[in-house]
Symmetry: C2
């Protein structure tokens, strides 16, 4: 396999055969370099992390699950440094190409996984999603991508970042493959079935740039033809309150995760990632308590909206993928805006799926559905039914 | 030449012959990688700086001055990234060895220059000193080192950092070589002569760790035998006010220097250096005005103390060189404390010389003299007279 996309960590293209036959026989997969693969160092996108850690002794649960289901592992993919980033930029290993928008970022932090799937190098790729790290590259690269219910797919052998937000997610380029892999990772049958109702979150759409909202209008129109579609505001007040609290909590958790390592190693980071550690990440107990209370009430609010097997519909990202050569200030603004929408599943623990239902020119624009907690299989089933009924991304033959 | 110390930038050991004979004939020198050498990229200790800059077209003034005076250039030395650092730690090119305290840092940012001179690889090395970058490695490596009067040695072809603080300095291992090079760089004759009076700054000594102050006591005793030594407080109030204002001003200036490049390039930094950019470096006009006013009054205060060709005596560093494997938090604390003393010459523009007059075990402890503005030649002459009268570092034959 030639990695013309820079999707794989240099030297980490491998071939590990499946552990027998299973539902994923004849499929290949890659794993973000946050997942342990026995015998390899889990490098986490940063050379100083790689330098200061030993090779993994065992495969991560998700890697083992896919190998055991018959898929072959083809390597480990580039990630934003220590999983902090939503654009897919990596100054040490290079920024993977976005095959569908070559001048733009692929999205991150599961950048190489999305790039490898979108470029046809593998059928499935594992990612992680704490603040949007599967959903955003799925949106930017035009893929199906799942952030599951928090706690639903075992994270054993995956590097944690912010434990109350961390999830194992994955990508596929067509709905059928998406469902096959989902069934294995969720250990549930996936049944193609449209949801009873889709609730369009008007305040989420209001945060999107005009071209993004405009590009998604035809997709909403098509959904209206096959599903009951209603509209509601997600937030009682200002939706950007959600991301404010999410940032505080996630920051506090990832600082706790990395603080001692940074102090011990004085690692190298790009200025982008170093900015995440500009302060010491400690927030006051009263701020934590306020954010936790907000999280609880936001979760109740979303639970009520989704009651009755409804799914919430929103743009995955309020912005298009930015240029690969964007300035740091533009990168920071982009990340800030993205989190305004990705925080919703993060705060509430609900699953979210990206549907590659629109483009502007060739640039993908993702539409998201958020399901109820534990409704991951129904969410994937809805993605399949929508793809079938609207003839999106006709399933491909296994490569 | 074998660079067993890691003092030179990889690939930047060269041999450039002198431009004819002169006062430095038979001496060799190295230049910190902040000085232009025609045909080479001035890398400034950071690979992303090197990647984004073209080779220099001409030699820096100081490089040209030494070549023209008969010295041979042997290469470019490692510096703390973009000259920000006082410990000599560089995560990209490696931390040069301190030949006199191998388990400790060499001091920085002119780390490789000090290492190369202390290790006998060259006779003279150019450094730069904005916040202490010659004085500290001179102290930590046991060398003579000059931070000149601000503006006194031309900075043409040297990368600037904080223009109102930036100076060209240099190192030598013995007083005679120190004087020979000083005469060339200052374009003045150096006459060995003791100062009329040395004023021991009691509040500077009070900031030093006990072992540092204790180690310097015998040196002060020896000076008392040959010079009139008095004692005074430098500051009217709390001496640490000096460094507070110096940090604000220097920070504001180096942010202005690097802001656009960082925004454009998203460069990689060690966490230590990234911390310097944790905020945007903008300080309010009122804070700048207050710092400028403080700077003016501090300068007047020092001018009065030095009136009558007196020299101020203080520890170069309040602490010993820290361990090479120190934690980031310990590194930050060390830098903070060092600046409490190095800020004095920085704020006032006065010249300062490090005298290698003490050790603890084998670890060097530097004593400093600060002279009046423009009194650089007298300061070097005092260093020579002290070395002669106290038989310090018997001058060596040219290598």
């Amino acid at each position: 396999m030639e990695d013309r996309l820079g999707a794989f960590v240099p030297g980490a293209i491998i071939h590990r055969a499946p552990r027998g036959a299973g539902p994923l026989t004849d499929l290949s997969f890659a794993a973000k370099d946050l997942f342990d693969v026995a015998g390899l160092v889990t490098g986490c996108g940063n050379p100083d992390w790689a330098n200061t850690h030993e090779p993994a002794e065992a495969d991560a649960w998700a890697v083992d699950a896919l190998l055991s289901a018959g898929a072959a592992l083809r390597g480990k993919t580039v990630t934003d440094e220590i999983s902090l980033g939503l654009l897919g930029i990596n100054k040490f290993y290079g920024t993977p190409r976005n095959p569908r928008a070559p001048d733009r970022v692929p999205g991150g932090s599961s950048s190489g996984s999305a790039s490898a799937v979108a470029g046809g190098l593998v059928d499935i790729a594992l990612g992680t999603d704490s603040g949007g790290s599967v959903r955003i590259p799925a949106s930017f690269c035009g893929l199906y991508g799942l952030r599951p219910t928090h706690g639903c797919i075992p994270i054993a052998g995956m590097m944690t970042q912010a434990p109350s937000f961390d999830t194992v997610g994955y990508f596929a380029d067509d709905a059928a493959t998406f469902a096959r892999a989902g069934s294995v990772l969720l250990r549930e049958q996936i049944i193609d079935a449209l949801p009873d109702e889709i609730v369009v979150a008007s305040d989420c759409f209001a945060l999107a740039d005009e071209p993004v909202g405009y590009a998604l209008l035809p997709a909403l129109e098509r959904l209206r033809r096959i599903i009951r579609v209603t509209e509601a505001r997600l937030a009682e007040g200002d939706l950007t309150q959600w991301s404010r609290h999410q940032r505080g909590l996630q920051r506090s958790e990832f600082h706790a995760t990395f603080r001692d390592w940074i102090d011990r190693v004085n690692p190298r980071f790009s200025a982008e990632v170093a900015g995440a550690f500009a302060d010491d990440g400690r927030i006051s107990e009263s701020d934590i308590a306020a954010a936790q209370a907000f999280r609880a009430s936001a979760t109740q609010r979303l639970d009520r909206l989704l009651d009755g097997r409804r799914m919430l519909c929103l743009p995955t990202s309020p912005i298009l993928p930015i240029a690969r050569d964007a300035r740091l200030s533009e990168m920071r603004l982009a990340v800030h805006r993205i989190v305004d929408l990705t925080c919703i599943a993060g705060l509430t623990g609900c699953p979210q799926v990206n549907l590659p239902m629109a483009t502007i020119g060739a640039v993908p624009v993702g539409l998201s559905l958020i399901g109820w907690r534990g409704g991951d299989a129904a969410l994937i089933g809805a993605a399949c039914a929508i793809a079938r009924d609207l003839s999106i991304g006709v399933p491909q033959e296994p490569r």
